[in-house]
């Protein structure tokens, strides 16, 4: 049913339609509205049979999900930012054990400095955890990806993070088509686990593995992600048959056919980028877009294919590999190895910094002229940065950086924009 609703509420409804049997979560902004809504559905009996388990931390949330998934229950949780970091040991265990847990990550920056706003640092910090990571561009896609994620996770017996931009999507009201229970049931069969803890047929899950077999077990996790590269497009195609719309897949291009400059990005910023690209196309610029939906597994071949006809590309990402540059850009450059393509990295939107169309227009025009540095920090306040660097040169006791920056910028109260 088409409705105007909050992203979090829409995702909660989609998760409920997937008939989870255990939901365990600890509240953290901007994920809270999702699990609040699910908690209400369980309490009212709207979502049944399902157990909603209040846990004392994110570490416990993932631990409970591991236990319930191993016991054969379809298990769901959600988190963000510091919450994801707090559960990391269990995150690696969930994938190492091959348990098909689905977790929403309402993407948010990581402190310090503490910051509740959106960027992709949190889930990207779990790049190598063995979890699959799918990024939603809109709230409709967030809904659809959750439904696909349960199917994909259970077919592979691997856990999946469905990543949606915190606040920008989770707290946005927009139109979303919520599927019917019949549609979801037709697409997502009941959970038939590859491994299950059953008192009637006791087994153990989680053996210690020494040097004689550890690499093979790890390779098998890699093999599953390679299988996912085949499975994700298949499940997206099947999704289209049942639900009638394109959602998910590995990558998606926009106005790319004759593009000389391609912009590569993940998540909701793709919308703003598409608007800018439309405006530039109207002025005759040959520019297109490559959206990456599946960050893990990373679709090297599809990215290479999408970029092979352009002259240059810009990876615009809401993440920073401190001391290195781009995180997504590193993978994209890997994909185009040997093509001689000119690639630029633009770090944008960290900690919720708005990514305005005007700034993108400037950036993309500079890219066309190949006037960009290899790594650009979009809308960085160089005066503020240089002032602090100078302060550090001048005085040994230069004090805390975050406090200095707030003082220099004269920030005293909430601002908008």
């Amino acid at each position: 049913m088409l409705k105007q609703t909050e992203g979090s509420k829409a995702v909660a409804e989609a998760v409920a339609l997937c008939r989870p049997e255990v939901i365990c979560a600890y509240p953290i902004s901007p994920q809270t509205h999702i699990v609040e809504a699910l908690g209400e559905m369980v309490k009212s009996g709207e979502l049944t049979p399902c157990e909603f388990i209040n846990v004392e931390s994110e570490f416990a949330a993932m631990s409970v999900a591991i236990g319930s998934s191993a016991a054969g229950a379809r298990s769901y949780t959600a988190t963000a930012s510091q919450g994801l970091l707090f559960m990391v040991e269990a995150v690696y265990n969930a994938s190492g054990l091959g348990l098909p847990i689905v977790m929403t990550v309402a993407n948010r920056a990581i402190g310090a400095p503490i910051n509740i706003w959106n960027d992709h640092s949190d889930s990207l910090s779990q790049r190598d955890s063995g979890w699959l990571q799918l990024f939603a561009e809109t709230n409709q896609e967030a809904v659809d990806l959750h439904i696909q994620a349960f199917r994909l996770a259970e077919e592979l017996s691997m856990p999946i993070m469905v990543c949606m931009d915190g606040f920008i999507l989770t707290h946005a009201f927009e139109r979303v088509d919520i599927p019917s229970q019949e549609q979801v049931d037709a697409y997502l069969p009941p959970f038939d686990p590859r491994q299950v803890l059953d008192p009637a047929e006791p087994i153990s899950i989680g053996a210690m593995v020494g040097p004689e077999a550890f690499m093979e077990v790890k390779y098998l996790a890699h093999a599953k992600q390679l299988q996912a590269l085949e499975l994700i497009p298949q499940l997206a195609a099947e999704f289209k048959q049942v639900f009638g719309r394109d959602s998910g897949g590995l990558v998606r291009t926009y106005r790319a056919d004759d593009a000389e400059t391609m912009i590569v990005a993940m998540g909701s910023v793709l919308g703003t980028i598409k608007d800018v690209v439309d405006e530039m196309r109207d002025e005759g610029h040959k520019i297109g877009v490559l959206g990456i939906i599946s960050y893990r597994p990373f679709p090297l071949a599809q990215v290479r294919e999408a970029l092979k006809h352009c002259k240059r590309f810009v990876v615009l990402e809401k993440s920073l590999a401190v001391g290195m540059g781009g995180i997504v850009a590193t993978d994209v450059r890997m994909a185009v190895t040997g093509t001689g393509l000119h690639g630029f990295t633009a770090i944008a939107g960290l900690g919720g910094r708005p990514i305005p169309k005007d700034s993108l227009h400037k950036l993309f025009r500079q890219a066309e002229k190949e006037e960009l540095e290899p790594v650009t920090f979009l809308d960085l306040d160089w005066d503020a940065v240089n002032k602090q660097l100078e302060r550090e040169r001048q005085t040994r006791h230069s004090g805390p950086i975050a406090e200095n920056m707030l003082h220099d910028k004269g920030i005293v109260s909430a601002k908008f924009g």
Partner: protein
């Protein structure tokens, strides 16, 4: 695309107002996107929320820096932040106050702009009168419908019925209806002046 920015304080239903505005537009078959300014919410602190309305899918995710309309839920914000920042030259302004723009020292601003698109409404009083709470958001939405014609009163009422039920819904509908008439009257007075 029509872009609205609502300013208020934590506890005044600013975010709810943009959400209801988006629901009202959706009820008319239009695309709408409402989102808050994502701050740490505290009662009394300045809050901003945004709403875009269009006839096609809205993909843009930047904050609204050049609004077509501004709704100000708390006139004390005028002394604290530049609530009019970026307002388009022919933009609409609806301000919650029982004073006039002139009394608030805004005469010069009206001279430079389309004065008929500026209106005040005693929305807190209307909220108190009909709902029993000093929440100005719904009266201002109905006032905005009257002032701009961007959405219809019936759509605001549909959004009220989706958000509230029973006595609270009834009170809000009464507040909305009176607000709508008050703004329409003021517009007539202005046109005849």
């Amino acid at each position: 695309m029509f872009q609205i920015r609502i300013h208020g304080r934590g506890g005044q239903g600013v975010v709810t107002a943009t959400e209801m505005l988006s629901v009202a537009a959706f009820e008319e078959g239009r695309h709408a996107q409402a989102f808050p300014s994502f701050g740490s919410e505290r009662t009394g602190a300045p809050v901003v929320a945004f709403c875009r309305i269009d006839d096609k899918e809205i993909r843009l995710r930047e904050p609204i820096m050049e609004p077509d309309a501004i709704i100000i839920q708390d006139p004390t914000l005028l002394n604290q932040i530049d609530v009019f920042a970026g307002l388009k030259p022919d933009g609409y302004v609806l301000l919650n106050t029982h004073h006039s723009f002139e009394a608030l020292g805004l005469s010069d601003m009206l001279k430079e702009r389309k004065a008929e698109r500026f209106c005040t409404l005693p929305a807190t009083e209307l909220g108190l009168k009909h709902v029993g709470r000093p929440i100005p958001n719904v009266p201002l939405l109905a006032g905005f419908a009257a002032l701009s014609g961007i959405i219809r009163l019936e759509s605001v009422i549909k959004a009220i019925n989706e958000k509230f039920s029973g006595k609270v819904a009834e009170g809000n509908i009464a507040a909305a209806t009176e607000s709508y008439s008050l703004v329409k009257e003021k517009m007539k007075e202005h046109a005849n002046a």
